[in-house]
Structure formats: structure tokens, C-alpha cells
Symmetry: C2
């Protein structure tokens, strides 16, 4: 992380990382599948947490409500890791095309895992996929705001906001008077 922040991702060699970490290049690749994985090590925990939330949601709850509850729960529990750390990591990721790719694959894996969890709840197949994708979209928007924001609002709150906005988009006939002000 230090080296990536100092000189950028591309300009950092695995040999340098290994040296700074006090181990061999060979050993580095035994811990991380590739150079990028250093930045995405926590993604699996995040996925497990989200899936657990969906699995444990009360039966009969509508799919999007389950998603919403899981997302806000994740936002509260998970991102105690710190706003600054998340921001630095995100800056590194956004500065490099390969890292952006890897981030997308992580999101996709998240979506797939959530969809599978929804299916376990009895949600039918297209609905499960679409609800999961919508959830990921909500998460992306909220997370992006949280990172680029000065840090005033909590990730959980931003998650709720972005969820409400998705409803506005897909249910335009429900809107009262919000259209002209947004």
C-alpha cells in the first residue's frame, strides 16, 4: 500500500514490495495470486458478510428489502476500517486500468454471490439476478459518494439514499414533487 501510494501501481515492482515487506518475491506470490490482489484481500470477508446477511433475513421478506437491509448492515459493520484508508485505496485503484478491472470483477462476484443467496431463499432466477445487480448498483453509487465526500455522511445513510433514488428511477409514477429539485 505504501509503495503503491508513493510511486503508483505500475511503477512498483513485486521485488520492491517483497523487499519492503521483508520476504521473497516467490513468497509474495504464495500469499497473493497476483500483484493486484493486495488491494482486494478484504473483499472476500465483505462478500461473506453480505451473503450471511441475506441468508439470515426473515423468510418472506421482499427481495429488494432483503438487499437493502443487508447493504446497510454491511455498511455499518464493515467500514469501521476507516474512511481515510478506503479513500487512499480507492485513489490507487482509480488511477490504474488493471485495478479498475479487478474491482469490477469483485463487484461482479459480490453480485453473483448475493443472487445465489437470494435463490436459496426461493427467489426465482431472473428476479434474483436483477435484484442482486440492482443491489450492486446501489452499493457502487453510495460507496463512490462516500469516498469522494468530505466524510460528513455515513455510508449506511448514503446507501439508503441511493436505494431510494433507484426506486424513483424505476417508479417514476410514484414521485410526488422531487423531480424538479434533483
Amino acid at each position: 500500500m505504501e509503495l503503491y501510494a508513493e510511486r503508483g501501481f505500475d511503477a512498483t515492482t513485486v521485488a520492491e514490495i517483497a523487499e519492503r515487506a521483508g520476504l521473497t518475491e516467490r513468497t509474495f506470490f504464495r500469499h497473493y495470486a497476483d500483484k493486484r490482489e493486495v488491494l482486494f484481500a478484504g473483499a472476500t470477508e465483505l462478500q461473506e458478510l453480505l451473503v450471511r446477511q441475506v441468508d439470515q433475513a426473515p423468510a418472506g421478506m421482499p427481495a429488494m428489502d432483503v438487499i437493502g437491509a443487508a447493504l446497510t448492515a454491511m455498511a455499518t459493520e464493515m467500514f469501521a476500517e476507516g474512511h481515510d484508508y478506503a479513500r487512499q485505496r480507492q485513489a490507487i485503484i482509480m488511477a490504474n486500468a488493471d485495478l479498475r478491472e479487478r474491482e469490477l470483477i469483485k463487484f461482479a462476484a459480490l453480485g453473483a454471490a448475493v443472487a445465489e443467496s437470494l435463490r436459496r431463499r426461493g427467489v426465482t432466477d431472473p428476479a434474483a439476478s436483477l435484484a442482486a445487480e440492482a443491489g450492486i448498483a446501489i452499493f457502487k453509487v453510495a460507496f463512490e459518494r462516500w469516498v469522494s465526500d468530505t466524510g460528513q455522511r455515513s455510508l449506511a445513510q448514503l446507501m439508503l439514499d441511493s436505494m431510494a433514488e433507484l426506486r424513483l428511477v424505476t417508479h417514476p409514477e410514484e414521485l410526488a414533487s422531487d423531480e424538479s429539485s434533483g
Copy 2:
């Protein structure tokens, strides 16, 4: 494409591709940014077509309707490339993690471009992003079905189906009697 299909993506070296194509390895990299790009060369055209459709949609049309019209138009115009070719390419892509990553980045670029196009129409920022993401989700589901299907139904029809299903997920209160039968 031949080599990828014959012996797999990983087992195919750029040197082999260059030899089969009758050119140098160096020249290959002048045409394609990397080894994967061979399979995604057509993605830019697809993106331009989609953006053009959104840009040219009548003013005042709701965002999701614009997306829907653009997607079906794209489905009709674009995928005259052939079902078999698309299926072979998709098999190659799904068999390799790096290729799946690249596909996701292409989808993300598509989404970003569509969102930008929606913003040019005056759609406000969160709505534009979310509508675009929803459009991509619709496209993914429809495309996946089209590829894995025996080829009976057109991509355009599958696109309409998946779009209707997204509405069902996000507007559960509208459903008439479909829930128990799906």
C-alpha cells in the same frame, strides 16, 4: 479465435497467434492493446451504436424507456453477426478469469457511456447512473439467455422480457398473479 478455441486462451501464445495470422508479434501489439483485446474489438462499435440511440431518442421520453428502445434497437441491428460466433466467443471468455474481467470492464464502459448520454438529455446524475446500470443488467441477463439458449428466441425479444422482469422486481405491488407461477 481459432487458436483460442483449439487450445484455450492461456495455452495460446501471442507468438502463435502472430504466426497463424502471418505477422510479427510486435505488429500484433500494434493492433491490439493486449492479448485479450482480440475478443473485444467489436465492443466499441456496440457502445457507439448504443450511445447514438440514446442521443437520438425523442426529448422528454422517460429514462428507462430510452434505455429500452436503445437496447432493442441494438439487439436488432448489431447481432446479425451470428448466434454461433457469439456463442463460441462467449465460451472462450467464460473459460478464463482474465477474459471475464475484460468483459466486465467493457460492460462498465458501456454503462458509463450510456449514463453520460442520459445526462446530455438532462437526466439528473444519480438517476442517469442508476438507469444506465439497470440497462446493463437487463442486457447481461438477455444476452446470457440468448447465448445459452438453443437460438429460438431473438435477442430483442429476450431483451424486452428481461426488462419486464426488472419492473416486476422493482415494482412488486404492480404484479397481478405472476408471483406464484414463476
